[in-house]
Structure formats: C-alpha cells, structure tokens
Symmetry: C2
Subunit: 100 residues, 2 copies
C-alpha cells in the first residue's frame, strides 16, 4: 500500500536554503528502494521551515530507506542545520480522484 510521509523541518536561522540544497541533492538511489515522489518546498510565511512531501511503495520501503548508508550520511550532514522542530504526519494512501 502506498505510504505518504509529509513533514516540516525547522532550520536554524539563516540556514533554510542550505537545508533545501541538501534535501534536493540528486539521489536516485531513493528510486531504487521504492520512493515514488519526493518534493521539497518553502513558504514565505515560514522563513525557517523546509517542507517535504514523500510517497513510497510501502511503509517498509520508507523505513528501509532510513537504513541506507547514503541516507544515514545525508541525515548526519543535515543535522547541524536543524533547529530540532519537526512536524507533519504519515498515512496510508487509499485512493485518488484522478486515477484508479
């Protein structure tokens, strides 16, 4: 079942765009482990927040990705940019008005 993870990551003041560059660095390994969509964004009203929207083939594909050496290295490298504030939610996709 397709699994969705959407979240907010708080960045330290002035470090948001660096965090965006980090999260958008090309990583096609994610496609190989079941990532279907991974979009990163910002909002004018939240200058220290980065938004992510992800779709995965399954919840276990998402969990498994967190164990990949590349992903663990990426998380470690991003950590100094983070304020420690996180938000968001996870859900199982059950349908769409656009397609079967």
């Amino acid at each position: 079942m397709t699994f969705a993870n959407v979240g907010t990551l708080g960045a330290l003041p002035g470090r948001r765009d660096e965090l965006v560059r980090h999260l958008t660095a090309r990583n096609t390994t994610l496609l190989e482990v079941g990532c279907l969509l991974y979009e990163v964004g910002v909002s004018p009203g939240s200058p220290d927040t980065v938004f992510v929207m992800e779709l995965w083939e399954s919840e276990s594909a998402h969990q498994g990705s967190l164990q990949l050496p590349e992903v663990q290295a990426s998380i470690a490298a991003a950590r100094p940019l983070l304020s420690g504030e996180f938000g968001g939610f996870r859900f199982d996709v059950v349908g769409s008005p656009l397609h079967d």
Copy 2:
C-alpha cells in the same frame, strides 16, 4: 511554481470512510485545471481523520479550482461529514532529489 497543499480533515465519528469515498470519487476536471497529484489516505492511529496530499501547477490553479461548480458542490456535500477540525500546510515546491 508547483504548489503543494497537504492537510487533515476531521470526520464525525464513524463517517471517515464515507468522507474518503467522497474525496476519491473520480473527478478528471481537476486535471484540466492544473491538479498534478491528489492522494487521499487514512492512518490506523487516527480513526476519525482523512489525509490529503495535493500538487498543483500553481497556487492560483489551486485557488481557481475552489471556484469550480463541481468542487463547490463537492465541498457542500462533504460538509455534513466533517467535525470541523482541520490541519496541514501549504508550500511552494523548490526541488526534488529524484528529478530536475
């Protein structure tokens, strides 16, 4: 610029699945007005919540869709199923690790 809207809709007790059926009823008009993705989901830990994840060609495409007669009728029909609790966030997509 691609615009993202992700949100939670609280359903009245026992009405969640009815709200899901409502939100996932085929509506290809959305594609014609700039909707790129519209996924609907649920989560075992939140039995009275429906989750939505949307991507639009622009923020104005999203705003415009809310004025469509079909969408206004759909919102009116869903209203009796809603608890009034809403959450989520909106953002401008600036990149992805998966593609240009």
